[in-house]
């Protein structure tokens, strides 16, 4: 097993832990989707095939820990990851905006996710999707910042070792 696979496994575990924690203990109707943000970042880092595979796995995990139809989140994640794979976004602002838009799309597509049907009216749905997108953007920004700092540190370490 190479280093990359281990790193991906670790990331998946961290995201899963965060998602489970927020779904169960965060006292709010809206919880940020760590899986979605992670999948988008994976695509931007060039791991498109891995992101597609992970979209299926994380979608199933998400449906298992929430109350949706099994497989529905996988489908939504797959569509978002596939579309995102054509967007080559490098800047931080562009990525945050992308997270915001995809989060809104994801939330709207949640209309089809619940067996009992969506009980909110269109205005409430819009407000909640906006809130959800904002949460995700903030979380996405924090993760991006953290990862950029980590990458710089690793690069500095690598440069130091190569001297």
């Amino acid at each position: 097993m190479n280093k990359k696979s281990i790193l991906l496994g670790e990331q998946l575990l961290v995201m899963m832990g965060l998602q489970v924690f927020f779904l169960n203990y965060f006292k709010s109707a809206i919880v940020p989707s760590f899986f979605l943000i992670w999948l988008l970042i994976l695509v931007w880092d060039g791991n498109i095939e891995v992101a597609l595979l992970m979209a299926f796995i994380t979608g199933i995990i998400y449906d298992l820990i929430s109350k949706g139809f099994y497989g529905m989140t996988s489908m939504i994640f797959l569509i978002i990851v596939y579309i995102n794979s054509f967007l080559k976004i490098k800047s931080m602002a562009g990525r945050i905006l992308c997270i915001f838009i995809f989060s809104m799309v994801y939330f709207m597509m949640g209309l089809f996710k619940y067996p009992d049907g969506f009980l909110w009216n269109s205005w409430t749905l819009f407000r909640y999707s906006l809130l959800f997108a904002m949460y995700n953007s903030v979380v996405g920004f924090l993760i991006e910042c953290g990862m950029r700092r980590l990458r710089l540190r690793w690069k500095a370490k690598k440069d130091y070792l190569s001297i």
Binding site: I48, A55, F56, I60, Y70, G71, M72, L78, P115
Partner: protein
Amino acid sequence: MLWRFRREVIFIVEFFLSLVIVRYHSVKIIGVENRDEEEVKIINYEELIAENLRLKEILDIKKDTSLLKRIVVGQVISIKPVVFPAEIILNKGLDNGVKENMAVLSKDMFLIGRVAKVDRNSASVMTLFNTKSKISVIIDSTREIGVLEGGGIPFLSLRYIPSDSQVKKGDKVITSGYSDFYPKGIEVGEIIKIEKSPDTLFLKIYVKPFSCVSGLEEVLIGE
């Protein structure tokens, strides 16, 4: 070639797999929900049929009866206590023409008690078992008049029947019609035990009421 379109291949395969999972799960969930709904519907239908039959029976009685001039059909909404109740609450009140002291009968035309208190939409019935209940009755066979008193669970006590009376076990007790509350001839119960003591003028008689109050759902309120 396939390697060139690997992204699309992964996407299509996984999308199809997700679709299969969604379909399987939704069929399972909707199947269970439909089954539950059908079961509830069947139970509701059975309950409606039973209620329909009971009400039909009451309607037939309403047509046939000559004991009461005016009858209101009420539903029992509360029984206190559940066993040998002293009070029952009905869902009919002043708005439905129920007045205080109206007689309350079971659908078999057996006496249950009388309306003690009435509100706009409910009425409280004092049953035969109530300690305050005192009814003027006649023993059907001997035509002797007595007072039937509640409070002595599980039987009612019939008082003021002379000790030389020819009354016997199994005789029916009916309302005398001498009180303001009950018309004459409503069946109340049957005598199940007679005690004679030499130093008293009256017999000690126990009466078992015909109306089983705990099994009631609909009652007739009349005058």
